[in-house]
């Protein structure tokens, strides 16, 4: 929020000040989109733009949403409607180590829920949360396509297979900055 007695800073100015490099790369991406006057055809670029922005910033802070809205000539509420619909997008910052336990059917019947509970206990966070130190995020996914290794845990890009609750502390210990 800005104070009414100062000159208001736009979302773009604020983000450029806080995250100059990331903002520049978002802008570069948006610049090459064929954006025109027709809102309906601009909308087609929304999901790609959000994917790109989340890739750059790690999440979709409100300034980013504002910039995308302005560029694509869509309203903030439309953007928020889309972000909240798709589970892949998040408007909250999430931990550096994204621990995602697969809870697809194959993993579930092999006890994935016990693995989630164990992570939750050891990291002292619930599913969908990030630890206070910003290191760990605990989430669940639906099938990463490696069902033969069920239950599967992904930490960022790394895949662990045949995970048991007893392996959880080792997986956490593997996460080094």
């Amino acid at each position: 929020m800005t104070c009414c007695c100062e000159k208001t800073e736009s979302a773009l100015e604020k983000l450029s000040r806080l995250e100059p490099e990331k903002t520049a790369s978002l802008n570069a991406f948006l610049d090459q989109l064929p954006i025109g006057k027709d809102v309906e055809s601009n909308r087609a670029h929304l999901i790609v733009a959000l994917h790109q922005a989340q890739g750059i910033f790690g999440y979709l802070p409100s300034e980013v949403q504002q910039i995308i809205a302005e560029r694509l000539k869509l309203t903030r509420s439309e953007i928020y409607g889309v972000i909240s619909f798709y589970s892949y997008f998040t408007d909250q910052p999430i931990g550096r180590f994204k621990i995602n336990v697969c809870c697809g059917t194959a993993c579930f019947v092999k006890g994935a829920n016990l693995v989630v509970e164990q992570f939750s206990r050891e990291l002292k966070i619930k599913e969908g949360e990030t630890s206070a130190d910003g290191r760990f995020f605990l989430g669940v996914l639906r099938c990463v396509g490696a069902c033969s290794l069920a239950p599967v845990v992904m930490v960022n890009e790394r895949v662990y297979g045949n995970v048991t609750p007893a392996m959880v502390s080792k997986i956490i210990a593997d996460c080094k900055d």
């Binding site: 889309v82 059917t105 639906r142 990463v144």
Partner: protein, 614 residues
Amino acid sequence: MKIKKPSDLTAKVAELRAGLSGKTRLQVSLGTCGIAAGGSPIAAALRKHIAEQGLEKKFEVVDVGCLGLCYCEPMVEVKSAKGKSIIYGHVSEEQIPAIVAAGASKTAEGLEALKTSLYYPEEQAKPKKKVVQTRIALRNSGRINPEKLEDYLLQDGYQALAKVLSDMKPAQVCDELVESGLRGRGGGGFPTGKKWQFAAAQPKGQKYIICNADEGDPGAFMDRAVLEGDPHAVLEAMAIGGYAIGSDTGLIYIRAEYPLAIARLKKAIEQATAAGLLGKNIFGSGFDFNIELKYGAGAFVCGEETALIHSIEGKRGEPTFKPPFPAVRGLWGKPTIVNNVETLANIPAIFRQGAAWFKSIGTPGSPGSKVFALAGKISNVGLVEVPMGIKLRDIIFELGGGIANGREFKAVQTGGPSGGCLTAKNLDTAIDYESLKALGSMMGSGGMIIMDEDTCMVNIARFFLEFTVDESCGKCTPCRIGNKRLFEILDKICAGQGTPEMLDQLEELGNVIKDTSLCGLGQTSPNPVLSTLKNFPEEYKAHIFEHRCPAAVCTSLLNYTINENCIGCGICARNCPVNCISGLPKTRHHIDQSKCIKCGACMRSCKFAAIDRK
């Protein structure tokens, strides 16, 4: 080299054939499953070994896609130029010298080759054995390098497109597909040719063809295997479809969870475009066709075709009522075909071999083959492609190797969260679209989750409902609220708070949701509940009346205790992830019930049968 006319393709293939090295191929499966199981270091070690031993003239290491034998990754197939093949599973780096030394003529000493029964109806007249896999959609997956267009061309790639563009009128293409009897493999089983005819019959103008690569059913991974193992087949089929309906634009809607498939598709599109197989004036026929990728963002309902179209338009992926069908009004209001990946993967083969050939496989009502993804408590987790009409027993016990760890078969869930379960008494059912529907389940995308006596059917129903509640888009009330209530009832039953009326409530509510929901998600979501209720009523009753979970899964109804067999070895205490087992050495130990998470690690580690689970 640009391929400008059909004869260029023939020349190119002849050139590639002439250049074949005659080397023995060492094929390493590098799909998502193979890579996760450690396939990449094996491929690297093979290359190193070949180079160190100076064997480059005799061997080449080839990265291939998934052969479907996911249970034995990392996997190496040794294949001679004459086609002799030996497959090794669970390969370790130490085994590499022995594998290379033995070559393709005999099995490496001290190792065992995998027994597989793969039959390729395009290449062989008849299968050798009775129960074998019949590979049409998965023909190339695991056999070619998916990142090389040349490998695909050597397998008759783009021949079907060449034939269609030079010899057939669009209407003939649709007719041939109708004649083949191919039905959609994405769930509905709608005749693909008919769908194409509808779109073709719409007035000329912009039309679209979309490949549905959203693969939402958790536990199904055949579309991933095709995209990672044979991406050009999908592109070729889309171009054929574009020609048939009069569309110059194809889109592939792919889920963001499949980064490898995305990368390989991108590469394939670039290669095909560079070779002139996509783009302007393909094969000099005047037909233009381009393909773009569109990404999903984690919403199951976006697999439903109208929701998928809204998602591509940049909107929330909510479904709309049909009709109008997408073939009449689809993407941006234009006629649009949505086809599943596996459906498309069958199409080049149909045009190479003809409709009659395709119809000779499978059953009259459901011709061809179907890929099933076997997962859960089965020995051979992986993909099997079988002729329609095969018995469930053959899939599970012959090809799937039966139940893992010597346990008893209990049920199999087909059709994912929209399907139902089949039990031991359905083992002799011949599988096709109709027979599964008659049993209260459905084909769905072909996921099969096998369950043994350690799986609680109430808990499974609860799991699927939790999934549905998560994934319901919220647009219609029966699905949004009804499923939530259904879930709450199941949750209570699993927690031991069930009451007798709940049995009737589940059934009544389930049927109302089925009858009144807007889209296929809600219309099918009660199936897992209704079918487990029908097939396993005694399990529901045990939970409700006796507060007992017969499969010992529902943790609220379970207690682990230590009996007098305990000799105080302490192995359970060391294995307990929450340190809730205490006791002096050589004395009977004790479990702190307030801390116990009921994971069963103690029971699995105990060698003296001293842990009771009740």
